[in-house]
């Protein structure tokens, strides 16, 4: 297997290695992104062979689309309301696990396990747990004297049921990330603080929290980006109901394109609005991280 043209082969080799992956990437990631931008300025529909440029009509229509506004508001509400539990629950668990409790690998595995499930499996699990008639949570809450309504059928609680479901699903993932962050903090800092008379609470606020700041930002931004795309939990648990109380942007996009109107142009405009919102958060992350990584 002697190379025939040793000189020139060297120049092309890297590109030959890259070719299959870059072809995949260009056709199925880059092209759809740009095609989506073009579609958002057309009147494309499912099944319509030809479509024409319609300017910013799709974006203008979004300004009047009250269901889109409701979806945006719901998505923002979900994102904000879920942020505290998503930041705090895995952190508390990680700090507890990092104390060196017995069975650490088992415990970490127990919290991580739900994250290996699909969103549909998780949704069905909680649908059953929260069943208003025969679900166990209903029974135990009632037994504890707490009045139980149908969580998923009540516009005031439906979103919270979705948040609860999501927290159960993703906590293990963020827990692992927090644990990695905690393990990077030098033990000597805590020892020095203890010598200076700082208690556990004091060193948590003075050492752990400041040094975890990059991890916090990562978790926060990952969570926000993921939250703006929430779909599966809603699809399984409430299908956007009751009324439009849990309708989210991606669900509205999905229904506009594939369920009700088959209006690809309008759905693509929604997609780009969503993309710009997410992009803004991503850029914010870079700025914040750049400002805080040196310590």
């Amino acid at each position: 297997m002697k190379p025939r043209r040793p000189r020139r082969r060297g120049a092309f080799t890297p590109y030959l290695f890259l070719a299959p992956g870059l072809a995949l990437f260009a056709v199925f990631r880059v092209y759809p992104l740009l095609e989506g931008l073009w579609l958002s300025f057309t009147n494309a529909r499912l099944g319509r062979a030809q479509h024409v440029f319609v300017g910013t009509a799709n974006y203008a229509r979004l300004l009047d689309d009250t269901r889109f506004h409701v979806s945006l508001l719901n998505t923002a509400y979900y994102t904000i309301a879920s942020t505290i539990p998503i930041l705090a629950v895995p952190l508390l668990l990680a700090v507890a696990l990092n104390r060196g409790v017995a069975l650490r690998t088992f415990l970490r595995g127990a919290f991580f396990f739900p994250f290996t499930l699909s969103v549909v499996t998780v949704g069905l699990t909680w649908l059953w747990l929260l069943d208003p008639v025969i679900g166990p949570s209903t029974y135990y809450l009632r037994a504890a004297g707490i009045p139980v309504r149908s969580w998923l059928a009540d516009p005031n609680t439906a979103m919270w049921a979705i948040i609860l479901t999501t927290v159960w699903w993703v906590t293990g993932y963020y827990l692992v990330i927090y644990l990695a962050g905690l393990q990077d903090i030098p033990r000597e800092l805590y020892e020095a603080a203890a010598l200076d008379g700082a208690g556990g609470w004091r060193s948590f606020w003075s050492i752990t929290m400041p040094l975890l700041r990059p991890v916090f930002l990562f978790v926060l931004v990952t969570h926000v980006i993921g939250s703006f795309q929430i779909f599966g939990q809603v699809f399984v648990l409430t299908n956007g109901g009751p009324g439009d109380a849990t309708r989210t942007v991606v669900q509205h996009l999905y229904e506009t394109a594939f369920q009700n109107f088959f209006h690809f142009g309008s759905a693509s405009a929604m997609a780009w609005v969503l993309f710009l919102i997410i992009l803004a958060f991503s850029l914010l992350q870079f700025r914040l991280l750049r400002g805080h990584t040196q310590y």
Binding site: R9, T13, P14, Y15, F17, L18, P20, G21, L22, L24, F25, V27, F28, R29, V30, Y31, P32, L33, E35, G36, L39, A44, L93, T105, L107, R108, G109, A110, F111, P114, T116, L117, S118, V120, T121, L124, T125, W126, L127, W128, I134, P136, Y139, W168, V176, I177, I225, F228, F231, G232, F235, V236, L253, A257, A267, A271, W272, F275, I278, Q285
Partner: protein, 267 residues
Amino acid sequence: MVLVAIAWLLPAVWVLVTSLKLTENIVRVPPEWIPWPVTIAHYGEVLFSSSRTARIGRAFFNSTVVSLGSVAVVVLTSAMAAYPLARMRFRGRSLIFGLLVGSLMIPNAVILVPQYVLVQRLGWLSTYQGLIVPEAAMTFAFGVFLLRQFFLTIPSELEDAARIDGADPWQIFTRIVLPLSQPVLGALAIFAFRSAWNDFLWPLIAVNKPDMFPLPVALALLRGAYAAESYGPIMAGAVLSALPLLIVFLVANRRIVEGVRVSALKG
């Protein structure tokens, strides 16, 4: 802490318990945590004789084909692309790598519609390739990032020695770099398997023949196929869908956790 962890697992235990109960015992209040008498009838039903819209046995097979196919495509293309990005000098290297890392920020939901248009034009709707290739494309950039980090740590002396012995770049890649990278390739394979196995939104729109549904779609439709009180078959389907990753997870717990940890550094 142990109590908290057990409580955390209770929802999953409840699903398993429900799937093993007789239908008349499922609806019994107060909740019974021991399924007695035990039955596997719900499993038989969803695997072999379920409704026309959602056959879990068939969906299990579809998910397996799609996930393994996607793993193969992702591991091969990412490894080939990551190798020159880590070990060779050439024009456009940092531009290509920058584009790939930047693309990690493209939300899947944003390219849903144009990807559908593309796959439809290719005639790939309701086919395995229509699921495998887009799923692989979703994971490709992450795979390059993960593998490149690892390839950077391989000592260059090994490659130099092979080059002196007359090995060409492809031989160095397949005989030296890949064998040394088995742990990270395994981590990527698990990551890619999990993404493809659990993805819901793309197959929901890309497949409209019931025979081609993967598990998440079939399960979501199973919910509609049964009346609200017959949770038995639905929970049996949920357990079946969780099994492969549960087994992988029990065997390779540490590797998965490592993969998550590296993925966190990508931002």
